[in-house]
Subunit: 242 residues, 2 copies
Amino acid sequence: MLELYHAEPASNSLKVLICLKEKGVDFVSHLMDIQAFEQHEPSFLKINPDGQVPVLVHDGGVITESTDINEYLDQVFPSLPLRPQSAIECARMRVLTKYVDEYFRIALSQIGWQLMIHTITDKLSPEEFEAKLARIPREEKREKWRIAAAQGYSHEQMAAWRRTLGEGISKMEAALANGPWLAGPHYSLADIAMFAMAAHMPARFGDIMSESVSPRVMDWHARMKARPAVAAALAMPTPKRG
Amino acid sequence: MLELYHAEPASNSLKVLICLKEKGVDFVSHLMDIQAFEQHEPSFLKINPDGQVPVLVHDGGVITESTDINEYLDQVFPSLPLRPQSAIECARMRVLTKYVDEYFRIALSQIGWQLMIHTITDKLSPEEFEAKLARIPREEKREKWRIAAAQGYSHEQMAAWRRTLGEGISKMEAALANGPWLAGPHYSLADIAMFAMAAHMPARFGDIMSESVSPRVMDWHARMKARPAVAAALAMPTPKRG
């Protein structure tokens, strides 16, 4: 029995959805509305005290952190291996997934929250918003929401995160000179991790990721979208919002 | 042929040194003085353009990031396995090493830099310091040094990082209720990752990690120190400083 608690097909939730679709395994989908802070409901905190999605539940065992979930899925469902057999290629894959987690995703998510926060907070009174914030288990996340909702991040800070995105795309452009896939000759969890972040970047960050700036990344992006598993993951539903 | 570029036996360098000693494999040690910014020298940037240690070079292949280096070492030298065989235990191990990388080590390192930065900058003129900074490849690191050396981090920020350390130790105390080691019944890379950060904490952060606050963590700490490989790693040399 395999269950996934996840948000709409974007970012870390998309990362695990693509992996599950690539593996072709059946799973029960629990779609959660993170814009309504459902991941901080007491009932969900019993499953993941960190109050974050995605979370995989497999035969009663709970696995958190999208990067670790995908490593787990590849170990448990070894058909269509998504980790290179060569140890050094596998290490390079992990350096990439780690880079996505520690730099690229952070920058993208901070910019994203700042741009969308008011569509969330406008539905709530200040007291309701404070009550939602108070339930967030991790202090760093509480602060992120509070700053984004109040004064917003500075122009300098937003510019620095945009530079991080640009550096990330340059890094991928360079990596793709050495093989059709980010970690080299084999399609891997690194491609899935990066695509989960970059899926909508050509439309939203056309100055950072485009045919003229990053032709190899755009070609890779098209090959990713053409994969049936990727298309199936992107077609997963989004929460109905009023 | 196995070579390791590393700093003194602390933090991420200690993490890989312990793993190598546990594996009992011979390696060539290249000790670097990170307080003299040797990791940003052009000759080293050819090996790791990110300007960070530790870096492993194995038969000409370069592997960066201590967490990924240790996964690599465990794959290539499988005697004394340091990743649990059970997939779910292995996933929990990775969630812990990821937590150390993304939360615990960041807090510890920011506090550490703030406390020691002036022993470094006092030896340099402002121009020399700026020249050293200018060579740091990652913008985030440049900013960390600049802020720590200039105004310093705020009291609130330092207090928040100390709270992160306290939360981390509580998390470890809770994990050790379920087994003698952090990921459960087996000694693993999670123990090595956490110990590399916490080795000197009882002396330096006695209010956060002590017999009264975290008895299970202290017992684990004593068992870690008693391991010959851990003792050998801790006994590795430190750069001679004037």
